[in-house]
């Protein structure tokens, strides 16, 4: 049975970027900040306060799991975070919603689809 995530949508930009950064691999807080800056090409930067405020909410909603410390890390104060299956589903639903928004925007703005080379 397919779960309905539309009630959680739309996501805030911070939540979307955090989920998206954790979609590839498990990261600690500082790595999430760097990944968000990389994904947005430096146009969107998360501060620690905003990052952990959103992480707190995502953990409470069980979209993100806290893994704790990892052996072999340089800084023992770092904790790692993982995207849960629930969070992955929410991210997929948000991505589909955004794709629809982009498609509609292209139609309205008469922007041609990029041709394949």
């Amino acid at each position: 049975m397919k779960e309905d995530f539309t009630s959680f949508l739309p996501l805030s930009p911070a939540a979307l970027h955090i989920l998206l950064s954790l979609a590839g691999e498990d990261l600690h807080g500082y790595a999430i900040m760097q990944e968000v800056a990389r994904q947005s090409e430096g146009k969107y930067k998360l501060g620690p306060g905003t990052l952990y405020d959103n992480l707190q909410k995502l953990i409470q909603r069980e979209w993100v799991e806290e893994l704790g410390h990892r052996r072999g890390d340089d800084d023992p104060r770092r904790r790692y975070y993982r995207l849960s299956s629930l969070g992955r589903g929410v991210l997929a639903a948000e991505t589909a919603r955004l794709a629809g928004v982009v498609r509609e925007a292209r139609l309205r703005l008469q922007i041609a689809k990029p041709r394949r080379a």
Binding site: M33, G47, P48, G49, Y52, Q56, D75, R77
Partner: protein, 306 residues
Amino acid sequence: MIRSLYRCALRLHPPAFRKRFADEMDSIFDQADGNPAALKLLLDALLSLSRQWTLRPEFWHDASPSAAPTPVFDGVPSFSSISPFRPRSAALLNGLALSLAVFCLTCFAIRYSWIHVLHVRIPEVQFERPSGIPPNPRTSGMSPMMEKPIAPPPPVYKAPSVATVPATPALPQIPPPVETVSRLRSARNSGHTNAVKPQSNLPISKWSAETIGEAEIPLESYEGTYVVDSPAKITIVIATERDSLMMSISRQPRLGLTPMSKTKFTVEGLQNCWIEFTPGDGAASPRMRELQLSCNGKRYVAHRQP
């Protein structure tokens, strides 16, 4: 400096947030390059602080039970405190709001109270009746509760033509008692008009003037025409009529003068009005050189015309 401020801001976060993320935020601060980045992180921490305390009440309390300190039995005696009580943050905020409300109500009540205090009626200052004026025989027999507040008309001063008054400079001037007036009157009737000396135990010695001393003051010394120069020219005539001093202002009907002291007289028929004479320099026969008419708080100085 910035680092300590940053750590201080982290410590002020709600306990649950602080336990969970403070170490990581501190490690992120270590990654900052230079003061501008550190200042940005400090600003971010301050914003986070306000956000956590204002918008995230659901995260104020730590959901996970904190690890209770376990006593270590390694031979060293350990001490444990009995359930240290710490009020919840929500309770503290509620208490703060309640305290502010009580404070505001108290301030309002104080202000309201002050309005009523300001409306307290202050009794008017009234002049005391001179003790030399005998009480009204119509009201003297009444009880104080039955006595009417209307002041009785002061009697006319019928002083002898010449009176000798011993001087006591150190004593203040007080109005002459009734006995003094009657004694002087009896002395006049018996023909001793020139050497009436009151007994030493009588209060008459108290109403001597410092500037006059023991000089005899005939009533003629008060007589004369006194002129007020300002604010308007007013002529005051002091005359003797049947051994009494009379005063007329600008040809108006004469008014009797009642003695309060040797130089001070009240004006019959006028409330809160009195006249004070200033004797001249002549010691043997002092003649008044000016008078001050005080009436209802206003004061007029009149100089005697030659």
